[in-house]
């Protein structure tokens, strides 16, 4: 466990020493600040626009960080051969993968927390202070964090066997496909050919269902998030991440380093 923690901390340290990360956070905070301006020219829906735009900014900049760092997590270490010294120590390969995932998870946690603080400062500037709608917003942020962990797991998996460019393409592609997974389910209902229905349903279940995590629009209208959705999304994320990271471990376990 201490070895996983050491690798995680080092991954976190690598991320926080990278200037690109700060650029992304600054952009996210600027976008949130801009949302206040947009809100001011939209009479009556200032908060709605702020929540929508603010949380979307947190999602996309978080995703950028997850993909940007995640795709290089394993590949870069193999490419630069930094792994040689590391894996010649008493470190299991699965510990390396878990450490890397945990490290990026920690990085995302800190970043999402920073962006959330910025978002709430903007929100309180508009609303005047804390309100009942804060809890659903926090739940939405929690869902965003789960999505980012899911994207990280995917990026990590692809990083185990493909180049950063392909890994980024696969991860972003799956994020987009997963965000429209409900449309795939609708398609399976609409098609009348049994085998095609089976295929579309299989694709729907295989794809990561990012759609279920997106409650931004709902909380922007100050609707509460049902507890069973919180539990369902948490369980879904844990299981899906477990499977994806497990697949990454299996691939990496049997890989020859260059």
């Amino acid at each position: 466990m201490s070895r996983i923690a050491a690798i995680a901390f080092n991954t976190f340290r690598e991320a926080v020493r990278d200037r690109v990360l700060y650029n992304l956070i600054v952009f996210a905070l600027l976008l949130i600040a801009t949302a206040i301006l947009f809100g001011q020219i939209s009479i009556g829906v200032q908060q709605l626009i702020l929540v929508n735009l603010g949380l979307t900014a947190v999602t996309f900049f978080g995703l950028a960080i997850a993909v940007f760092i995640g795709i290089g997590l394993v590949y870069k270490e193999m490419d630069k051969r930094t792994l040689y010294a590391l894996l010649s120590k008493p470190v299991h390969r699965y510990e390396f993968i878990l450490g890397k995932f945990a490290g990026l998870g920690l990085t995302l946690l800190v970043n999402v927390a920073l962006m959330t603080v910025g978002f709430f400062l903007a929100l309180y500037y508009v609303t005047g202070g804390p309100g009942a709608g804060d809890v659903p917003v926090l739940v939405a942020v929690y869902f965003i964090f789960l999505q980012l962990l899911l994207a990280t797991a995917l990026a990590l998996l692809f990083s185990c066997f493909s180049s950063p460019v392909l890994s980024a393409a696969f991860t972003v592609g799956l994020f987009i496909a997963g965000s429209f997974s409900s449309d795939i389910l609708e398609l399976s209902k609409a098609v009348k050919v049994p085998w095609l229905e089976w295929v579309t349903r299989a694709v729907y279940y295989a794809l990561p269902n990012f759609r279920n995590f997106n409650v931004i629009s709902s909380v922007a209208h100050e609707h509460p998030v049902p507890l069973d959705l919180v539990l369902y999304n948490t369980a879904y994320a844990v299981i899906y991440i477990g499977l994806v990271v497990g697949a990454g471990i299996l691939i990496f376990q049997n890989r020859d380093l260059k």
Binding site: R13, R81, Y84, A85, L87, S88, K89, P90, V91, D256
Partner: protein
Amino acid sequence: MPAIETLELTKDYAVGFWRKRPRRALDHLSLSVEEREIFGLLGPNGAGKTTTLKLLLRLIYPTSGTARLLGRDLDDVEVRRRIGYLPEAPYFYDYLSAREFLEYCGQLCGLASAERRTRTGTLLEQVGLADAADVALRHFSRGMLQRAGIAQALINDPDLVFLDEPMLGLDPVGRREVRDLILELRRRGKTVCFSTHILSDVEALCDRVAILNRGRLHGVGTLDEILKLEAKASEVIVGHASPALRAALEKLTDGLHAAGDKLMLTVPPERVFAVAECVKQNGGALLAVTPVRASLEDYFFETFGTEKVPELSGKE
């Protein structure tokens, strides 16, 4: 118990884009390295030295064959608590300082915090990086990185140390220091296995060597054992050489040089006694008979030809 034991260790790589075909990097390598030995893996580029080390460290997996380190299976990760490894042309996390990097390696080896700090300080001093301990590795020169690599290989005070081309990128002073370090490791009872293509390093350090070329083992043993096979002549020095003695000796050898009343001749081993008899009969003095020891360079030239001969001068 051997420190390193390999049995028929073989590694094939798949090459080609569409039609993959195997290329053999290591071919049925069987060898044994005893504890407390300095063992050299010698061979030209592409001989299979790095492949052997990577197989032993489980960085790559063998196509067939087995190996054991310190009596334990390679899959046993815990055996690596007693092992150190310097990769060839090492590259480390460039955002870390040398001190941070060594502490990180110590953490991975399970060293306690206080021990980590002590070992880190001692090793930085030992490899000459104490002054650059807090400089990020991205600012290190090739030689400094090599020193940092050696330090990380020793962070856990290993019993068995693998060094892949340890002299690479080092200046003459650095090379001397690394040689001394390797000898110091042996003095402390450690086993050192290092790969090199620099013959002078092997001659200066190794108890035994394995000669590899194109993935195949061409010989293993002490340098004497390996070079004896190539010893084909003796150098004889004769004093008080009269013209009659010189004339008689000229019939026994093609290579004769005179310096004053001394003669120096090179003869095949089977003619040494005939030369001695001739000297005695002609009133000369037999001053020295020295077997001409073939050098590793000669061995390589004879075995592999001139194309794949390792670095002869000892310089990179």
